[in-house]
Subunit: 226 residues, 2 copies
DNA sequence: ACCTGAACACCGTTCAAGT
DNA sequence: ACCTGAACACCGTTCAAGT
């Protein structure tokens, strides 16, 4: 309880603050990362944090950069398959974001200007260049792919959050299928007709298909449509 | 200030609660819709709301359904252009979500099981059927398209929120371009190379291109990839 | 059944005062 | 310069008590 019972009483700094926040994020998701809880973990009052961090939003930005840094970027060689690497990179990004409930949502807010987020964007662009796309197609494509990574990551974390909360026994798919199947056919003819197909496949299969669709679409679409 | 100065002192009900919440949403975005503020607008205490609404999440769900109801669904005729209608429907959806800061994000959380959200899904499926897609392709495609609508809507509202806050003078594009242009070329070669293209085009142009890409991709992709 | 005052357990952020 | 106690202005939700 007293000072000397603690490991090493780290001096306050932006890094130690982000470290502490990361521990809380791991345990309780972004909702668990409050200024007060971070301060408590560091054995101070919340006001002390504001010396090293402008506000909670900036702290979240720093967490995002940490997470973005864990995504392994592809090593581009002379005869690597750009398409397979692109898919792999996107799946890695989605998985990384999926690990931390609430973080991906926060990425919608700002242009990703943190070092690790920029590195990811640059890597995506590099792979698209290998794909032989026009300059404008590459530029617009990276926007779409980045949006998808964030969106798919968000979906994953929020489903996970729900899952732990209440209905982990009946998995989401089964639940959704029954909802779809039980709908009035006159009102929603297309949904009821396809209720089996709508819930078919694992999350990874479905994500892979979506990524495939986008790559095929990018290759097939001129960068300046009518 | 007293009772008789007010219009008609509406009796409390789920509908009046959602009405009041909608007014707050319009004025201040989802952050402005707190149980306490809604109660205040209805001249009661927050506890009273819990008779008609399980919790804030359910209230938000009701708001989402209201907004989904404002999206005009396409009237399918014998010789209408399914592709153009699909694009139009998606743009309408994105615009509807874009009007209310914070709402689109909330849609990631749950499978959209509200009447109006289901109607939108059914309409999308109908158009995809007209496009001659296989059953499985339609089912997976509607997932991807719905995810994009929510993601693009989220992006729009959050940018709008930021915009009103601080930097409305220098628009986002100009800001982003300068950020990209000023980056170290050794570290981010692809971004700096394409910094002009990365910020080229209006939001609608870019969105249209993305939708085009997805439709082309869906048409080109078998529903059961390796 | 419906409504409510009061409380519980939290938030982010600021600011004057201390060292 | 860094740190902090205390306060300000909020939250969602519950619950006993009233009508």
């Amino acid at each position: 309880m007293s000072r000397r019972d603690r490991p090493a009483k780290p001096a306050l700094s932006q890094e130690t603050i982000v470290d502490a926040a990361m521990v809380l994020l791991d345990a309780d998701g972004l909702d668990g990362v409050s200024m007060r809880r971070v301060a408590q973990a560091l054995d101070t009052g919340p006001a002390s944090l504001y010396v090293y961090v402008r506000n909670r939003d900036e702290l979240i930005g720093l967490l995002i950069d940490r997470i973005a840094g864990t995504i392994t970027l592809p090593v581009v060689g002379p005869d690597t398959d750009w398409r397979e690497q692109l898919i792999e990179l996107m799946l890695n990004g989605i998985k990384a974001l999926g690990r931390y409930p609430g973080v991906a949502v926060a990425m919608f807010a700002n242009v990703p200007d943190s070092p690790n987020a920029l590195a990811l964007t640059d890597a995506l662009l590099g792979l698209l260049t290998q794909g032989g796309l026009s300059r404008q197609a590459r530029a617009w494509a990276v926007d779409l792919l980045a949006l998808y990574i964030v969106a798919a990551g968000t979906e994953e974390t929020l489903h996970a959050q729900r899952g732990t909360e209440e209905l982990r026994k009946t998995d989401v798919h089964r639940g959704a299928r029954e909802v779809f199947a039980g709908l009035p056919a006159e009102q929603y003819p297309n949904i009821t007709d396809l209720h089996e197909e709508l819930t078919y496949g694992t999350a990874e299969q479905r994500t892979r298909w979506s990524i495939d669709v986008m790559i095929n679409g990018i290759l097939a679409t001129d960068a300046k449509p009518s």
